[in-house]
């Protein structure tokens, strides 16, 4: 029975991936991609990767989908021109050859893995006690591989700077996008009033539960950012002033605290990002709490886009 379900999901995934590739209309391709992300999160659930499933659903399906829909809306005008262009047979053949080659190499690598595959899981589980957190994923992300997580947070901030730098000079520090206007008594405004209180509780819960259960800052931050964006789209609040000192402080606080904790480790435990014994849990919590505003702000601001109007209007 479970094999049948697995095979059906795998076939559906392949069909959706093919659909996303061949769809001529960009919006349909994005719709296919979002469905693909949600289905992929089901696959992760079946592989017992609940943390990955949550991230895939929140970021792969939700946030990336919203970003792509925004991109489709911006590209509407150029779509007709893109349709009239047709790739030649040589380009098709080359693309297919490359895709098949990558697939073949990946398949060979997976099939060539020794049985059982090499794993660091036992060592990680053995040393979990030293970190004070019970969810091994969180332990790996914030203790054993903290450097990766730090670099990830810095990459997000740099991505935001990249998006902001697309703004014309006169709008630098202004508000991104158009002010959304929706019927104040309409269904969207209603949803934007009812959902955020629930969403904020769920987001903070997912963040807090990350220490002991699947969940964590990325998934929680996505939910919180989505609530903020919903309020903006319903026209209940304007998009933020990107020149605001508080906003910018919130964007950089996560990486700064992370680096400070890392330097503290250099001084007290002898290595960058090492936690002194008995202090691991409070320091991990400090890093996670500091990363939270950074992630919420960066994810929401990435979707808001580059500043497109002056600050005072």
């Amino acid at each position: 029975m479970t094999t049948v379900v697995t095979v059906v999901i795998a076939l559906l995934l392949l069909a959706l991936a093919a659909w996303t590739l061949v769809a001529r209309d960009a919006f349909l391709a994005v719709a296919g991609f979002v469905a693909y992300g949600l289905l992929l999160s089901l696959v992760w659930v079946r592989l017992y990767g609940i943390d990955v499933a949550l991230t895939e659903a929140a970021i792969g399906g939700g946030l990336t989908g919203a970003l792509l829909i925004g991109a489709v809306a911006r590209l509407r005008g150029t779509e007709a021109a893109a349709w009239s262009e047709r790739a030649g047979a040589g380009a098709w053949a080359l693309a297919m050859l490359l895709a098949l080659g990558v697939t073949a190499v990946l398949a060979l690598c997976v099939l060539a893995l020794p049985e059982p595959p090499p794993t660091l899981a036992p060592q990680a589980v053995q040393n979990m006690g030293a970190t004070g957190v019970a969810n091994p994923i969180t332990g790996v992300l914030l203790a054993f591989r903290a450097l990766d997580t730090l670099l990830e947070a810095i990459v997000l901030v740099i991505a935001l700077i990249g998006v902001w730098s697309l703004a014309p000079d006169r709008f630098w520090g202004g508000r991104p996008g158009l002010r959304h206007r929706a019927d104040p008594d309409g269904i969207l405004a209603y949803l934007a009033r009812v959902l955020p209180p629930i969403g904020i509780v769920v987001g903070v819960y997912v963040f807090w539960a990350g220490a002991d259960h699947p969940g964590g800052k990325f998934q929680g931050a996505t939910i919180l950012a989505a609530m903020w964006l919903l309020v903006q789209m319903a026209g209940l609040a304007d998009s933020p002033l990107t020149g605001s000192r508080w906003l910018r402080a919130g964007v950089v606080v996560g990486p700064l605290v992370f680096i400070a904790v890392g330097l503290l480790g250099l001084w007290s435990a002898g290595a960058f990002l090492a936690y002194p014994p008995d202090w691991a849990k409070p320091m991990i919590v400090a890093v996670e709490v500091a990363l939270m505003p950074t992630l919420v702000l960066v994810l929401a601001l990435l979707l808001n886009g580059a500043p497109a109007r002056g600050g005072d209007r």
Partner: protein, 97 residues
């Protein structure tokens, strides 16, 4: 008692699945956006309700049951709101043509 509850679960979840099937058939067969939305939301809400009611006797603990009911309420809220939004934008497109 246990067997009775299991039977209740099976009947409820099976009828829920039937509603999902009916909704999907409606989505594929109905002629325009409004009737398709109608089929989808009715089927989703009733199907989801029956599946949740069927699962309630199977959960361990009050908290898990409450979470299930909360999920159901949230799905109802979002599907009702989203179908309104889709219908409104479909009507806007119809008028422009």
């Amino acid at each position: 008692m246990k067997a009775l509850l299991d039977l209740f679960s099976i009947v409820a979840i099976a009828s829920g699945a039937l509603f999902y099937l009916a909704g999907t058939v409606g989505l594929l067969r109905f002629p325009d956006s409004y009737t398709r939305l109608h089929a989808l939301t009715k089927a989703d809400n009733l199907g989801m309700a029956l599946v949740v009611i069927g699962l309630l006797p199977q959960v361990d603990g009050l908290l898990a049951g409450l979470k299930l009911v909360l999920v159901w309420l949230l799905v109802m809220l979002s599907s009702a709101a989203v179908s309104q939004l889709i219908a409104r934008s479909a009507r806007g497109l119809d008028r422009r043509q």
